[in-house]
């Protein structure tokens, strides 16, 4: 009888998942995606691991000389206008469209030289199929135009902590204040 008690207590202790995964995901949540990603800290996970954070997402590639530096600068501008006390509830996510070149080591170097090494910066890469699928989730167009260059549309997207898309801003010269404002509202309301 006693052993049954311990067995049950053990089950109770080990099987409980954290609070935020208890609620069912909304039907349009990006956390349904089952693709596997690697970050600049060499950790491997599904996007679902980011559940609970408000996400600011952009797709770039690190060897890009044209639009990407502007997008990265936009992301930094957004970061500066997010309430500092909210930053641990936010992930600023940069997803590579060139997973072959952008290895975790390369992403880590890019993050460091760009001063984006705080824990809320997340750089991700996967394989080509998952990258293509993720681009489609963002309604983003992209095409490899040479071994080292891509054409792509510039979109910054915000997802709420359940992974629902709540805002997209397109083009270079994004209104960082507007995006950050929406992030602050979302964190406050969650």
């Amino acid at each position: 009888m006693k052993s049954l008690f311990f067995l049950l207590a053990g089950l109770l202790f080990f099987s409980c998942t954290p609070d935020r995964t208890k609620k069912e995901l909304p039907s349009d949540s990006i956390f349904h995606l089952s693709s596997q990603w690697e970050d600049q800290r060499h950790q491997s996970y599904q996007l679902n691991a980011l559940r609970g954070k408000t996400l600011v997402v952009v797709m770039i590639y690190t060897t890009c000389k044209a639009a990407c530096p502007i997008l990265v600068a936009d992301m930094k501008k957004i970061e500066k206008q997010i309430k500092p006390s909210y930053l641990d509830k936010v992930s600023l996510v940069l997803v590579s469209i060139d997973p072959e070149t952008d290895t975790p080591a390369r992403l880590a170097e890019f993050a460091e030289t760009g001063g984006m090494d705080a824990p809320h910066w997340v750089f991700l890469r996967s394989d080509e199929a998952a990258t293509q699928e993720f681009a489609n989730v963002l309604s983003m167009k992209y095409k490899k135009i040479s071994p080292i260059d891509f054409s792509h549309s510039n979109i910054i997207s915000i997802f709420n902590p359940d992974g629902e898309l709540i805002l997209q801003e397109e083009g270079t010269g994004i209104d960082a204040k507007k995006v950050a404002g929406r992030v602050n509202e979302t964190v406050k309301g969650s």
């Binding site: 995901l25 990006i30 349904h32 293509q132 489609n136 983003m140 054409s151 792509h152 397109e170 083009g171």
Partner: protein, 285 residues
């Protein structure tokens, strides 16, 4: 502590555990290669297409694009085949599909999850499905979607030659076919095949391609030669590499307007796969 008390505590604990720790099961989505899937049969014959080089219809590049040899379904996937798929994959039924993967019009004309519209022909091409659903089907039958270049490579053929782009009648005829309404309700393989022996490339439905989202027409496209306004206005067809090919222009406009979760009443798909030695499928040479 008496055994009875322990017993009661155990029961309470197990109840608490059952109620509070219900785990969410990850739904297999037929997209991730990691999940194991029920395999369904694809009875469609495939056609062996030799590779080559071609001038893509759109883009500033004058460089030719290489297309490797590949196999393509001789006709689009039908209602009957897609019905078998949703029976085997409940997550792709109309009431089950995640909004992330298909808009609210997904299989809208079907009477129920596994019931086709009253007068639907089992052999007519399936339509009103998203890119995700088409990809999931292709994976379930051990194939993939054709790339945009593969599709356009086959599309250059008319009934007699592999590349009919220079003939004026070629594009005119396709454009006329595109203008016929309600043609998606007709059965497949009722019209003559093209040079390769492939049916219904133009006369029933538009078709998803794997990389439909590689058509870059936003204003920030790096070549800077065309913008949204330009593309959707017929006048800009002249900036394409092939002014005679108005039909291809229509297809690229269509693709540029699509998002992966969109479902459209006259948009279906067919499958393709890489050519490999020792393939155990029926191939038309």
């Amino acid at each position: 502590m008496s055994p009875n008390l322990i017993h009661i505590i155990s029961i309470i604990l197990s109840l608490v555990w059952c109620v509070s720790c219900g785990r969410q099961e990850a739904t297999p989505d037929a997209i991730s290669p990691a999940t194991t899937l029920p395999e369904i049969k694809s009875p469609v014959m495939m056609v062996d297409i030799p590779g080559g080089e071609y001038q893509p219809f759109y883009g500033s590049d004058t460089a030719l694009v290489k297309v490797k040899p590949f196999l393509i379904d001789e006709r689009p996937v039908t209602n009957g085949e897609f019905l078998a798929f949703v029976k085997a994959y409940p997550q792709w039924r109309r009431s089950e599909v995640k909004r992330l993967y298909a808009d609210t019009n997904y299989l809208h004309s079907w009477i129920a999850d596994t019931v086709l519209p009253a007068h639907a022909d089992l052999n007519a091409p399936v339509t009103q499905l998203s890119w995700y659903a088409a990809k999931a089907y292709a994976r379930a039958v051990g194939k993939r979607l054709p790339t945009l270049d593969e599709w356009e490579w086959v599309a250059m053929a008319d009934e007699t030659v592999p590349n009919a782009r220079k003939k004026k009648s070629y594009s005119d005829r396709i454009v006329n076919l595109y203008l016929v309404k309600g043609k998606q309700y007709n059965a497949v393989k009722q019209s003559p095949p093209n040079y390769w022996g492939v049916y219904n490339f133009f006369d029933l439905v538009w078709e998803w391609t794997d990389d439909f989202n590689s058509v870059l027409v936003t204003g920030d496209s790096r070549s800077g030669e065309y913008s949204d306004n330009n593309l959707f206005c017929a006048g800009s067809a002249t900036s394409a590499t092939d002014v005679l090919n108005y039909a291809a222009f229509m297809r690229f406009s269509m693709r540029a307007g699509l998002k992966a979760h969109y479902t459209v009443a006259n948009l279906g798909f067919r499958c393709a796969r890489d050519t490999e030695p020792g393939l155990n499928i029926e191939v038309k040479k």
